[in-house]
Subunit: 350 residues, 2 copies
């Protein structure tokens, strides 16, 4: 009934513990015949290495770093809170995780942040990345030191990271479009879009996906050229007001980027009926706006799920074993009725 140990395996295979150990840890200097005997015994007994004992014995400590942009962005505050909370829980499993601040969206700053990591002896790092060649050399250096690197939320140059954890932003845009299209019930419409910056890859991809679906499946709708907002709430506020008051009746608004507070305020103050509104990321104010009926949909990338995955994947990569079965990550649709219970979001509001 009890799980077989490596001693049991050795005995069953008719070899010594030392030989069995040599086999399962690939230490070499073992005859093929012995390897086969041990493998057979492992299979027969259903031996599985006890990771608790293994980690204890080899004093495994996972030192993880999360490179996260600074700034007051509500979304990244959410990410940070999740990381800290998860890190706290995993302390008992020998995992130390810390957040390293990088100034937001500057390739140079990010490169410097990565260079700093090199001397700090981590086992794995998760980075909110950028597509910049500046990062490639330092990331290669990190990797050469045996540090596992993954992209989080926003991808790194593909050659130098072991995994990317984040949603597909084309899918996110397509999803927004599908629902916006549905909400027109076959009638005509004009959709005003807002982007923070067309250089931001996620923004561009979302807009791309959005336009693709509208063009393909909703010929009755037209997508107006995006208004640039720099993710700045006051810019959005202004742009929203002008979109609402334009003669050409806009039937829907879709903000690809951040700064939703401005959009929401503008809508909240506007009189009469409003267009169908879709934004990204569920945070304090977007959630409130859903509840209040100021907006209709929020497409969220579930940073909590992403952080969970990041921890699990980092651990798996460091141990060089298969990650546990984890929920898939995809853009999640919130309406006012399926909002998650209050957890972190409220405390985030401040």
């Amino acid at each position: 009934m009890a799980s077989p140990t490596l001693s049991d395996v050795a005995q069953a295979a008719g070899v010594s513990y030392a030989t069995a150990d040599r086999v399962i840890n690939n230490r070499g200097n073992v005859a093929q015949k012995s390897i086969d005997k041990v493998r057979e015994a492992v299979a027969r007994l259903g031996y599985v290495r006890n990771v608790a004992a293994a980690n204890l014995s080899r004093k495994r400590v996972y030192r993880l770093a999360f490179l996260i942009p600074t700034g007051s962005n509500a979304f990244f505050r959410r990410i940070r809170a999740h990381i800290l909370q998860t890190a706290d829980h995993f302390k008992a499993d020998g995992i130390r995780a810390q957040i390293v601040d990088v100034s937001a969206f500057s390739a140079e700053a990010l490169r410097d942040g990565i260079v700093d990591l090199i001397r700090r002896d981590f086992d794995g790092v998760a980075i909110v990345g950028l597509q910049s060649q500046l990062l490639e050399t330092p990331l290669e250096e990190l990797r050469d030191q045996g540090v596992v690197v993954i992209g989080l939320v926003s991808d790194l140059p593909q050659g130098v990271r072991s995994a990317y954890i984040g949603i597909d932003n084309i899918v996110a845009g397509r999803t927004a479009a599908r629902l916006t299209g549905m909400a027109h019930a076959g009638g005509p419409g004009k959709i005003q879009t807002f982007v923070g910056s067309m250089e931001a890859r996620d923004h561009a991809e979302r807009l791309q996906g959005f336009c693709d679906v509208i063009a393909a499946d909703f010929p009755n709708l037209t997508v107006l050229p995006p208004i640039l907002t720099k993710d700045d709430p006051s810019e959005l506020h202004r742009a929203t007001i002008s979109a609402l008051s334009a003669d050409t009746r806009v039937t829907a608004l879709y903000n690809v980027g951040a700064g939703n507070r401005g959009l929401i305020d503008a809508i909240g103050k506007a009189a009469g009926s409003r267009p169908f509104c879709v934004v990204h990321e569920l945070v304090g104010h977007s959630k409130q706006a859903l509840t209040d009926g100021h907006i209709d949909l929020v497409i969220d990338q579930r940073p909590d799920v992403e952080v969970n995955r990041a921890f699990a994947i980092l651990r798996a990569l460091i141990d060089d074993r298969a990650p546990p079965p984890l929920p898939d990550l995809m853009p999640t649709i919130y309406v006012r009725d399926n909002l998650p219970a209050e957890t972190l979001n409220d405390t985030m509001e401040a």
Copy 2:
């Protein structure tokens, strides 16, 4: 830099290892003064018990059972696959999980299944439950043996389980209604609903939530009385055809229960434009129907997430410690654009 051990704590507190151990394991026979000293040292050093070492030492084995209804239901096949996969992964952590079959939706059979568990020495069980008083006595007996019991997907009588892991079906129904309402864009409409059985609590709750939202926020829409289908695909097939051909133009279909294959077939064969269609649970055929454009939305309860949670919560309850931070569980909305990548679902199709 290295984590403090209990010996370090004892030393820092100026007591012996034995006393420190007595404190952190609540063994009693310790003076308050010593307790305080140890607590202070723990806080000061940031001591966290090494669970790997602890579990190793106490030979912790988590024996878990999942009581799952038998039958060819695609949803439960999905659940089973996830359980087996997760169980396999956690073998290395000293977790043995097995699935125990119960014949579907019979309170008597479920009671017998629970009674069988009593003699089988599990540490925790997750049960796809029913609201039946029949279950209370055997569940109490289980609990008295120190077995942790949680409800999964469908709740148990509340007094006798430690947690429930599943979505709120009222929320699920409300979500379906919100989107169905949106899809009418303010125009008039008639919605045909289908339920498996009004005795099934989840069905009743979904319908309830659905009707509530339509009544409150979409006065232009009417919900037709539900058609009973017993979750039988051929019943649904028939009912769908008649709903589609009725003189009174139906603008939306909402199936609260299972048997979607019949509904999908009927729609696929129908000519011309079809009503807006919403169903529950993403499985092989509902996913295909979304992709093919036969239906518009699938509300899913993410059984993979549920199973993940079940394992984590059971472990936490057995160890009497806080569960790890986990993603919230809520009805998830799928359109054809945000479908998860293929994992289990395909193999499930057979």
